[in-house]
């Protein structure tokens, strides 16, 4: 590659990103500061630089000097504040370490600015000017070159499948052409939480769902979305689209992973520039649908006091809010909501690529205090969520704060309470 990434390309990328909503948002901001109060990086550090609207300063400067008459006049007179390499370098930690793209700021802005979408746009400029954290570069490189941000190859998945098949006696279908559903997995599920795959197998067997995995497109995560490069994201989405089209499936199931849902459900078609030939559902949407239609039957109730952590990308940015609650009501007798539940939930602190960025570890742990105090308010025994990344971050945060509490995936919880027709196996292994 002869083309190096530089400030000119960065500014150009920002210029590409600005659209009518962006212009409306910048025109409307009155510097009221309320977005700061919605951002856990500000509330837990009290550092004003984490104020969401401050994070989009580079984009604002480009908008003003490129797309407003008055701004262009100022630029011509040399009065405009320029976007420089130094500025982007200074802003890089705010954009990548101090924002999980959780979108909470976009919910509270009184003039209705979708700030988090603008921060996502700034990342495009950061990528094009090479102001990206090492951790995300590594993850993206592995995703593109190996097929998974964590470097997992097909062999590793196959090994896990073999293991699960042996343990459960269930068949995990791979590359079954013409199946109704193609399930995707996140690397973390493959490595850290293989229970998810097991749960899928159990549930789909009971509900009689025709499904498969793809050996060419099993990875659901998309590092391109996290680092903020449409070019990389497009390449990764294309693999899934190709895999699904090859197997001629009707549906693709997004796993318990937040940004993967955003990537494949909402951004994917726009990245490849056309509608899919298949539909995308989140696993919680599918489970809810199966349960509502009576195909998924559960028995027994979890009687421990538990709560549900809404993954930002699934609830606030994905619109899946009622489903997990309906599912939980079937299997948990003592479900309680955290304060600010559902679409107003606070992020775990590790989304939007922050968990892949070691540089952000300290601030991320500080940000976790928000979740910690939320949990302390309700005093629960079990924490349920639906995102492998959240789950890992929550486990780490709880451990750091000496809070002893299991974190469970919702699909897994459901699978544990499946109505067992022959009641052969025990309730639980542990």
């Amino acid at each position: 590659m002869n083309d190096t990434l530089n400030i000119t390309k960065g500014i150009n990328a920002l210029k590409e990103q600005i659209d009518a909503p962006t212009a409306a948002f910048f025109s409307s901001c009155v510097h009221c500061g309320l977005c700061a109060e919605a951002c856990l990086f500000y509330t837990e550090t009290n550092d004003p630089k984490y104020t969401p609207i401050n994070k989009v300063e580079p984009l604002k400067r480009v908008w003003e000097s490129e797309y407003t008459l008055f701004g262009r006049l100022k630029k011509a007179l040399g009065l405009a504040k320029p976007v420089t390499d130094e500025l982007l370098a200074e802003w890089e930690p705010l954009i990548y370490d101090g924002c999980t793209l959780c979108g909470r700021c976009s919910m509270v802005c009184p003039v209705g600015n979708d700030i988090s979408t603008m921060i996502r746009k700034v990342r495009e400029g950061m990528v094009a000017s090479d102001h990206v954290p090492e951790g995300l570069v590594g993850a993206s490189t592995r995703a593109v070159k190996i097929g998974s941000p964590m470097g997992i190859r097909l062999k590793a998945l196959q090994a896990q499948i073999k293991h699960i098949e042996r343990d459960t006696g269930l068949k995990i279908p791979i590359d079954v052409e013409g199946a109704d559903y193609m399930a995707l997995l996140s690397s973390m599920e493959i490595i850290n939480f293989p229970e998810y795959i097991e749960s899928l197998a159990k549930i789909f067997k009971q509900a009689n769902v025709s499904w498969t995995l793809s050996s060419e497109a099993f990875e659901a995560t998309n590092s391109g979305i996290q680092i903020g490069s449409s070019d990389i994201a497009r390449e990764l989405v294309q693999r899934i689209v190709d895999g699904a089209e090859k197997l001629k499936v009707k549906y693709v199931i997004s796993p318990e992973c937040g940004h993967a849902f955003t990537a494949i459900r909402w951004d994917g078609p726009n990245l490849i520039g056309k509608s899919y030939s298949f539909k995308v559902v989140h696993i919680l949407e599918l489970l809810d649908e199966l349960q509502q239609s009576g195909r998924l039957k559960t028995q027994g109730m979890e009687d421990k006091k538990l709560t549900f952590h809404d993954p930002c990308q699934i609830v606030r940015k994905g619109g899946v809010e009622a489903q997990p609650r309906r599912l939980l009501s079937q299997v948990a007798s003592q479900f309680v909501e955290m304060s600010d539940p559902g679409k107003m939930n606070w992020c775990c602190g590790g989304g939007g690529g922050v968990s892949a960025n070691e540089r952000a570890d300290d601030v991320r742990l500080k940000a976790f205090n928000r979740k910690k105090s939320q949990l302390e308010e309700i005093n629960v025994e079990v924490l349920v969520t639906a995102c492998a990344n959240c789950r890992l971050i929550l486990e780490e945060g709880l451990e750091e704060n000496n809070m002893d509490m299991p974190v469970v995936g919702l699909s897994e919880l459901i699978s544990e309470h499946l109505l067992e027709e022959n009641a052969v196996e025990g309730e639980r292994d542990e």
Binding site: N12, E16, V137, I232
Partner: protein, 364 residues
């Protein structure tokens, strides 16, 4: 010439001390002074000398003189006029031609430094031919007459502020007295016409105290022009309550509500109509159901419609807005399309990012 004091001249007319005190009471009220000043007024009048007055009429309609002189019967104002020596008033005096001008010249000579000059009407500067008296231009006559005057009283809006002759486009180049007279005290008594009692009140003040009353920054006596019509209007409580007549024959108008929305200029007009009233204290414009025109204020002819509320701009704002909309759409569309081009340009210059590109800069 008669050199008696006012008291003596009244005594000669058979007026008693009680009559004199009653006269002083009325006069004090006329000058808008508090009743506690009556003894002081009486005291001053016992020694006051009869002043000489020269009345010059320039570009005017005689309305101001009419206002003063058309009273049906002798009033307090009348008594004052009985006492002053009106030595020149070309509408009223019997003498004509050279004799009239002689009277003026003689009065100027005899009372040099002590006589009052009353002016009604504005002075044309564009061409002196617009208004002359006895072949003398208004400007020359004014300059000549005020030379030995003690003070000048500009009666009516025309002489005080230029008035109707000065209204746009002001063909005669009319100006006010105060814009020409800089070295003599000028008392402005504006109004179109002024309230007669205000004219006599000012003269009474000069007669009584031998000085000019306290003036505001437009040269108007504060006792009469110190407060706005709005402040002294009996309909003011309706303004405060938000009750307004919206047409001249609606319920609000019948109930006597505030006339602001019908264009009343009361809030910006300083005059004493609300207290002194007109036609022997019978009524005044607002009481008769019509808003104040603002006739005692400068530029009142050019200040927009009499029937538009004061808060409404009086330019051709509809035209301005029309042009602005057209210009705004044109400029906005041009800027918008330029932005589209700019953005399309940026999209075309996009170079695909690959993972291999990262860190190249940092290596250098």
């Amino acid at each position: 010439m008669n050199k008696k004091t006012l008291f003596e001249s009244l005594q000669q007319q058979g007026i008693t001390r009680r009559g004199f005190m009653k006269y002083c009471t009325a006069l004090t009220s006329l000058m808008a002074l508090p009743p506690s000043m009556i003894p002081m007024v009486a005291n001053a009048l016992e020694t006051a000398k009869r002043p000489s007055v020269i009345w010059l009429s320039f570009q005017e309609c005689t309305g101001c003189a009419e206002s003063l002189l058309r009273s049906h019967s002798p009033t307090v104002e009348g008594l004052i006029f009985d006492h002053i020596s009106l030595d020149y008033q070309h509408t009223l005096q019997v003498a004509a031609g050279d004799a009239a001008e002689h009277a003026r010249e003689q009065a100027m000579k005899e009372h040099h430094g002590k006589y009052l000059v009353v002016v009604d009407g504005s002075i044309p500067l564009a061409d002196p031919g617009y208004s002359t008296i006895a072949g003398i231009s208004n400007l020359d006559m004014l300059n000549e007459t005020i030379e030995g005057a003690a003070a000048v009283v500009a009666v009516g809006t025309c002489s005080a502020f230029g008035g109707l002759p000065q209204a746009a486009p002001n063909p005669t180049g009319a100006v006010s007295v105060s814009s020409l007279v800089k070295d003599k005290p000028v008392i402005n008594v504006p109004g179109c016409p002024p309230i007669p009692t205000v004219i006599t009140g000012v003269l009474a003040h000069y007669l009584t105290f031998g000085s000019i009353p306290e003036l505001d920054n437009l040269g108007r006596p504060k006792v009469f022009y110190g407060q706005s019509i709005h402040d002294r209007c009996y309909r003011r409580p309706f303004y405060d309550k938000g009750l307004f007549a919206e047409t001249f024959d609606d319920e609000g108008a019948k109930k006597g509500w505030c006339l602001y929305r019908l264009g009343c200029k009361g809030p910006m007009t300083y005059n004493a109509c609300a207290t002194l009233k007109w036609n022997q204290q019978t009524s005044w414009p607002v009481e008769s159901g019509h808003g104040c025109l603002g006739c005692s204020e400068p530029n009142f002819w050019d200040a927009g419609s009499f029937y538009k509320a004061l808060s409404i701009p009086d330019g051709d704002y509809a035209k301005a807005a029309g042009y602005a909309v057209a210009a705004g759409v044109a400029v906005g569309a041009a800027a918008g399309f330029a932005n589209q081009k700019n953005k399309a340009n940026a999209v075309s210059q996009h170079t695909k990012v690959t993972v291999d590109d990262f860190g190249e800069n940092k290596d250098k």
